[in-house]
């Protein structure tokens, strides 16, 4: 069937200039534009670092270990994602769903560890003016000094890693929709309630959790307007997005964490 379809191509339309299907080209174009967003953020971070003589190096061994485990989660998720794509082209629906769920589990692991890292840093005094103060915590003087003397460190750190965390969160949601379709909506609503009610009101994640609610509403509208069974091309396109998120972290991890490590 595939061969006959291929023979039909010239008689129907001209073959694609880029040798692939339009959904994939669309995702590549999106990723190219997104790479410039992250490029600009990484350049802003590097600019601040070069132009500031007393740039802080606040990440102790515990933070480095935490970030390394996060990196391992993302790298492993890329492997499970590529196995999901492979299962989809082999038309093995069960394996495809399982690998997608494994990818999501690694992504959630990354988000949880990242959230814990953020919460610890905020509790120790590395914060932004927009974040509410943490009650009952004596801020460590080192981080208070960092926030006062080099405010661009916290701004670029939270801006860059926050943008990446948002991308990972949206990636997990994207994969959830591809893997489970409508069944994912109630799961997402439960995750929203857990994230919203399970975090204290002074945590940025208390408000950030509403991203999940917004996503649930958007997904409901999309699936209501265009219900469909996602095929191998959809899994491959979702995989491109997921690998891109992994790719960006390969630059954030060394530039933000390893170059700002304080190993005694």
């Amino acid at each position: 069937m595939a061969e006959s379809a291929l023979h039909d191509i010239p008689s129907v339309y001209e073959p694609s200039l880029f040798g692939t299907y339009s959904k994939k080209i669309g995702m590549w174009l999106f990723l190219l534009s997104d790479s410039l967003t992250f490029g600009a953020l990484l350049y802003a971070y590097s600019y601040g670092r070069i132009s500031t003589a007393n740039w802080p190096t606040p990440f102790h061994s515990a933070s480095i270990v935490n970030a390394t485990v996060m990196t391992a989660f993302l790298l492993t998720s890329s492997l499970t994602m590529v196995l999901a794509v492979r299962a989809s082209v082999e038309r093995n629906a069960k394996a495809q769903t399982l690998w997608l769920l494994a990818t999501m589990a690694c992504g959630i692991g990354f988000i949880v560890l990242h959230g814990r890292e953020w919460s610890n840093l905020i509790a120790e005094g590395l914060s932004l003016p927009m974040f509410p103060a943490v009650p009952g915590h004596e801020a460590a003087s080192e981080f208070v000094n960092v926030s006062k003397t080099v405010p661009q460190f916290a701004a670029t750190f939270f801006g860059l890693t926050g943008m990446h965390m948002l991308h990972v969160t949206l990636g997990v949601i994207y994969l959830g929709v591809v893997a489970l379709r409508r069944k994912f909506i109630p799961i997402l609503l439960v995750l929203w309630l857990v994230a919203w009610l399970g975090t204290p009101v002074y945590s940025p994640f208390h408000y950030g959790a509403h991203v999940l609610l917004i996503a649930a509403i958007v997904i409901s509208i999309i699936l209501w307007l265009k219900p469909k069974v996602y095929d191998s091309s959809d899994v491959e396109v979702a995989g491109l997005y997921w690998h891109f998120v992994d790719l960006v972290w390969m630059f954030i991890f060394p530039l933000v964490y390893l170059m700002s490590a304080k190993i005694l």
């Binding site: 595939a2 590549w28 190219l32 350049y43 390394t68 491109l240 390893l258």
Partner: protein, 112 residues
């Protein structure tokens, strides 16, 4: 979806079937090993410029592996590869030209 799109999708899926699963595991192990090297170097307290050079070198190798094998760009047609890589690299070069001379100027003479 029209028949052209379906035919192209089927051809791309056919290309995927020819990839050995082991290749993905080798790439994954290589990425983990390079990450371990980066962390090990962090604990060696190397001079910042030397450290940055090594870390960025490893990051670009990791990025190339992810783009080439996991994102499958290695197996795309040439025009797709070149259009993608050249556009991103071109934009990053322009950002570099604009950002870094100014950052070094501020470091040496201060904000005027």
């Amino acid at each position: 979806m029209d028949s052209t799109q379906l035919a192209i999708e089927e051809r791309v899926a056919e290309q995927h079937r020819h990839h050995r699963k082991a290749v993905f595991f080798y790439v994954w192990v290589a990425l983990l090993v390079m990450t371990a090297i980066e962390v090990y170097l962090t604990y060696q307290n190397l001079p910042p410029v030397k450290m940055l050079t090594i870390l960025l070198g490893l990051s670009f190798i990791k990025a190339a592996l992810i783009i080439g094998y996991f994102m499958h760009l290695k197996y795309e047609v040439n025009i797709m590869k070149w259009a993608t890589i050249c556009s991103v690299v071109g934009c990053l070069i322009i950002m570099t030209i604009f950002f870094f001379p100014d950052a070094f100027r501020i470091l040496h003479i201060g904000v005027k």
